[in-house]
């Protein structure tokens, strides 16, 4: 018996998942490649993703996990596939990862303890309690465009509802919110010239971490002096293994909450609005009984959007995955849009079906210990936003083509014009 080839001499799969052009293309183009891999080579080895940000000479490549069942398996085998080595597909300098990944890039037992500090604020029961606030934020945002007749949906609606909700929960005052929105956007958007406004990615990203750190430290000092009923106070007062969290940890967790809280639901809301424009029959079905049909519609919008396209794990030891021999230290990358388009699980995944049931999409994760903490918040926000829009601006629709962002992490929409009959006319 011969040993399986190691990272150094393992042949690369011919399918391209690594080039800048693959990640600058459309989701539909990527799906062609994923479909071939799902059918023929479900766990395959690829060269490192092309990057202008950071060149890691030790990076030999990654295993691509594209089937729904395999993604779920990797997610659940958290002892075999670790998060603590980093959870983003792109190679990045350690200082950037440390600043932004927070507890999502921890493994048990510390992950469990940190996550519990925040968990009670995000349960269905607790999020139901703040639903009035979520609805009020959706109303306030729609108020902002209702009389205009035309708007950039991304900047004026999709980005703002989640921003206000997560900032309300964490305890971020109004004056910092737009700064946070723009800095957080760079994390997933650094490959995109439009998002970066022509600025060099690495220095700009480092500058963003400094700006976010400044806000986190200012608010942390305020909470130490004057505790409030918010998540930042919970972090400031928390003790884990008998010790307070360090300022750097609090800042990192703060950044994670801001990035995960703002940039995900923004994408789902934008893709959802586009889908409601492109599938008028589905929209008619939904508006036929908005309250009753919204829950399944939200699930399908989240599947359709797949706001986060990739997460990475690292093999803790030599083990098998989907018939392949994985070596300790190998990167393993999960492709969520591919799993959400897996015809073994979803019939006609290319069709928006707002009544789809069951809908075991993996947009919130494949069911492991890192399952999206904010899933209930996201669902409530999408329901509130689309209820508000479809009730008050019933003819709202996308005009022209949105601009999509380049990147490997968020399935981003940069800008998308909507038109509608202004409210009250």
């Amino acid at each position: 018996m011969t040993a399986a080839p190691s990272r150094l001499d393992r042949p690369y799969d011919p399918a391209d998942l690594s080039s800048q052009s693959f990640w600058s293309g459309t989701a539909a183009d990527r799906e062609h490649v994923f479909a071939e891999l799902r059918r023929h080579r479900p766990v395959s080895w690829h060269p490192p993703v092309e990057s202008t940000l950071f060149d890691d000479p030790d990076d030999r490549g990654f295993w691509a996990v594209v089937r729904h069942a395999d993604l779920v398996e990797v997610t659940k085998r958290h002892e075999d596939f670790l998060s603590g080595e980093g959870i983003v597909f792109d190679s990045m300098p350690k200082e950037l990862l440390d600043a932004g990944q927070g507890f999502i890039a921890l493994d048990p037992p510390r992950h469990t303890k940190i996550r519990r500090l925040l968990a009670s604020a995000f349960t269905p029961r607790q999020v139901a309690r703040i639903n009035d606030r979520i609805v009020a934020n959706a109303r306030r945002v729609v108020d902002g465009i209702a009389e205009k007749g035309e708007a950039d949906f991304v900047a004026e609606v999709a980005a703002l509802v989640p921003l206000h909700n997560v900032c309300d929960m964490v305890g971020v005052p109004e004056e910092h919110r737009l700064t946070i929105l723009h800095e957080a956007e760079l994390v997933g958007g650094w490959r995109d010239a439009e998002v970066m406004h022509g600025q060099e990615p690495l220095p700009r990203l480092l500058q963003a971490t400094v700006t976010m750190l400044g806000i986190a430290m200012e608010l942390t000092a305020q909470r130490r002096a004057d505790p409030q009923d918010d998540l930042l106070t919970a972090l400031v007062q928390a003790e884990v293994d008998g010790e307070r969290l360090t300022d750097a940890e609090i800042a990192s967790f703060f950044n994670l909450l801001m990035i995960a809280g703002t940039d995900t639901t923004r994408q789902s809301t934008s893709h959802g609005m586009k889908a409601l424009t492109d599938f008028p029959d589905q929209r008619d079905w939904l508006t036929g009984d908005l309250p009753a049909r919204m829950p399944s519609a939200v699930e399908e919008v989240v599947r359709w959007a797949t706001p986060i396209m990739t997460f990475r794990r690292t093999a803790a030891h030599d083990c098998e995955l989907g018939g392949q021999q994985v070596t300790a230290g190998d990167k393993v990358v999960m492709f969520y849009a591919s799993a959400n388009w897996d015809t073994e699980v979803f019939s006609h995944p290319e069709r928006l079906d707002l009544s789809r049931s069951p809908n075991p999409h993996v947009s919130f994760g494949g069911g492991g210990i890192h399952h999206c903490l904010g899933n209930q918040l996201a669902r409530r926000q999408l329901a509130a936003t689309f209820t508000e829009l479809l009730t008050r601006l019933p003819d709202i629709g996308v005009v022209g083509e949105p601009t999509y962002s380049s990147g490997t992490f968020f399935h981003g929409v940069n800008a998308m014009t909507v038109r509608f009959t202004p409210e009250g006319r």
Partner: protein, 63 residues
Amino acid sequence: MRIRHDEARCASLGSCEAVAPTLFAVGADGVLTLLDPSPDEGQRALVQEAVAACPTGALSLAD
């Protein structure tokens, strides 16, 4: 009927609590407590629904 709770899998998401608030509670400390680890037979359907609702597969029925 006995409910088994795998703490290593539990992410304190509270999906079980949303289905069956008389049986499960996520405390302010983020820890899930089984309010009644051995519910009576009449609640089997409810327990099964709560077990199925767990996204991380942390709950199961022992008998």
